[in-house]
């Protein structure tokens, strides 16, 4: 199976690996897993006072496609509003990395991870406002 150059690049040089303090108010954390393949993915966003995502980090234990998908998403969300980041679709990720059909579920995991991170950030912001 031939993997695309973009996929291999993200796998070999993953961007934004690491963690933020998940209890921080400006951090949203998404933790998702695909039990069928045993993958687990953590994706975090740090939102600035202007409402833009100023930084993002990820940690993924899974196959190369799962690592590349999460690495790509952390790059894409930087500088976006959370509403914009929420519109990222797994099909965009799969197309950009030219994921083979058997690896499409890795892009689903990355979409679910960013959505979960945004939901976590919003829940924190709501609690703070109350």
């Amino acid at each position: 199976m031939a993997y695309s150059e973009k996929l291999i690049d993200h796998y070999e040089n993953p961007r934004n690996i690491g963690s933020f303090d998940k209890t921080a108010e400006d951090v949203g954390t998404g933790l998702v897993g695909a039990p069928a393949c045993g993958d687990v993915m953590k994706l975090q966003i740090k939102v600035g006072p202007d409402g833009l995502i100023e930084d993002a980090k990820f940690k993924t234990f899974g196959c190369g496609s799962a690592i590349a998908s999460s690495s790509l998403v952390t790059e894409w969300v930087k500088g976006k509003t959370i509403d914009e980041a929420e519109t990222i679709k797994n099909t965009d990720i799969a197309r950009h990395l030219a994921l083979p059909p058997v690896k499409i579920h890795c892009s689903v995991l990355a979409e679910d991870a960013i959505k979960a991170a945004i939901a976590d950030y919003r829940a924190k912001a709501t609690r703070k406002a109350e």
Binding site: V32, G33, A34, P35, A36, C37, K59
Partner: protein
């Protein structure tokens, strides 16, 4: 006919491995194609179908984890298939921390220690699962099986990590 009934065994997670071997090998002899070479075609076909079903039943029930997933299917437990994601924070946090610890383990001893702990977790989870099946608690069965799947994946990754360390020491 379900796999347990085919082998004449009670449908329980806590299966006697020696009894499973015994009935399987006895039935396998009974339906062996060699014994049907001079029989009419319909009997030969039946024997070959029986032998194939027996092998399938044995393969499924021999391994405790595979047996547990099969029993979950029988009990109508809904498990996420390929491409389905979960967001159970306790389970995923445990899986993430275990994989991080494995990633940081850089000696064979350290990897073996983590693998031994994971094996104990599997044994404990299987023992608990046996009573969950008896109580037919589908939600708890689902949760326990998802955890077991991650523990199984951990064991696989620990073997891979061990080989990597072994190779770089050589």
């Amino acid at each position: 006919m379900d796999h347990f009934a085919r082998l004449g065994l009670p449908a329980a997670l806590d299966l006697d491995a020696a009894a499973l071997d015994r009935v399987y090998f006895a039935l396998q002899r009974q339906w062996h194609p060699d014994r049907f070479v001079s029989r009419p075609p319909d009997e030969r076909a039946r024997a070959s179908a029986e032998a194939a079903s027996l092998n399938e039943a044995y393969r499924t029930l021999k391994d405790p984890l595979s047996r547990a997933f099969y029993m979950a299917g029988m009990a109508g437990v809904d498990l996420p298939g390929d491409g389905k994601t979960i967001d159970d924070p306790d389970l995923l946090m445990e899986a993430m921390e275990a994989r991080e610890a494995l990633h940081d383990a850089d000696t064979l001893d350290a990897v073996d220690k983590l693998a031994a702990e994971a094996r104990q977790d599997v044994q404990k989870a299987l023992a608990e699962l046996a009573s969950l099946f008896l109580a037919n608690d589908r939600g708890a069965i689902r949760k326990a099986l998802l955890r077991l799947r991650y523990l199984d994946k951990f064991a696989e990754e620990a073997r891979a990590r061990r080989m990597n360390i072994d190779r770089s020491n050589a």
